[in-house]
């Protein structure tokens, strides 16, 4: 199956799924990341759409569950789960300000956009939003979280 996002149409083909105009197949690494909710929101939505349209993809996802249950490791899963190459939040902040050496900048851009690291993109989104939201809005949200959870603090821990 090929999904051309740019043109918005599907072409039935082999087992692979292409999720971008760059014509790439849907890899097992993509499916592993999908199960862990670790892909970019756009890619997650595309795969969801495909899984609904093609139930046979469920078999591949189930096979990943089986492999995990049996304790078989994947280097990519360990790398992603442990976030081995994720830039620190401080480096993401410097990236936003353009205050980082060029080669490192290129790598961070690659990690955010080509790898599409959801965790780093979330950190970056948060750093950007901090510049846009008022202190009142942020404080009100944090207070809500605190008040709705603090009662569980002693009891649960």
């Amino acid at each position: 199956m090929t999904l051309n996002v740019a043109k918005g149409h599907c072409v039935i083909g082999v087992w692979s799924l292409v999720v971008s105009p760059m014509s790439r197949r849907l890899t097992n690494a993509d499916l592993e990341a999908y199960l862990d909710e670790a892909l970019s929101a756009e890619e997650m939505a595309l795969i969801e759409q495909e899984v609904r349209a093609r139930p046979e993809l469920l078999k591949r996802l189930a096979a990943i569950h089986g492999r995990r249950d049996a304790g078989v490791h994947s280097v990519g899963e360990i790398w992603r789960r442990q976030r081995l190459s994720c830039p620190s939040r401080e480096h993401l902040g410097s990236y936003l300000l353009g205050a980082i050496d060029e080669n490192h900048m290129v790598y961070i851009e690659f990690h955010l956009k080509t790898i599409g690291c959801r965790y780093c993109n979330s950190n970056l989104g948060d750093l950007r939003r901090q510049q846009e939201e008022t202190v009142e809005v942020i404080e009100s949200r944090r207070t809500k979280y605190f008040q709705s959870t603090a009662g569980h603090l002693r009891r649960k821990s």
Partner: protein, 217 residues
Amino acid sequence: MPASSDADSLLIERIRRGDGEAWNDLITRYEGRLLAFVESRLGRRGPSEDIVQEAFLGFLNSLPNYDGKRPLESYLFSICAYKLTDHLRREGRRPAVPLSAGSDSTGDWQLQGSARPASSIVRSGERKELEEKAVMEALCDQIERWRERGEWTKLMCAELLFVRGWANKEVAEELEISEQQVANYKFDFIARLRTLVRDQELSQEVFPELYEEEANK
């Protein structure tokens, strides 16, 4: 990104003692990135905030079991992902995935050739953790070495090959290097990991992708 920082460990200890100020600090430190994580997927602020709230509650519930081996941020993201997935399933957006691919619970991931299926090996949770830790440390060393030497292309190459699972040709096109270079980088990388597996006396059968080419011969 290694284990939790000292600052996070201290924060957790204070929260375990019921320190409200420490709990507030944790919320202040992490809520923004968790909200961005959820909102990027849901696109709606209200339900996204609810999920983050559930994730914080989930964190308190799981605190007795949190051993600090995973960085706090990654642990919070994983709870958030779980809550988000649950929400999406309830909304009917995310299809439920069966737990196995059929009557054969191992599915179709097994090694080709004569290798014994890993499912037949009795392995404890501790053993699996030890395997993951050994590989993680080796990967960390390698990534750090690439960074120190400014070998960013090698890092990007390995990340595309293993984290995204791209084919050599696709990686070569993306990074504007030759397929032969990609193949060489991949060969060196896999050779190092195989050495680690051998030296640490880990089972080859649980790292099938490192031996795929041999199995396909």
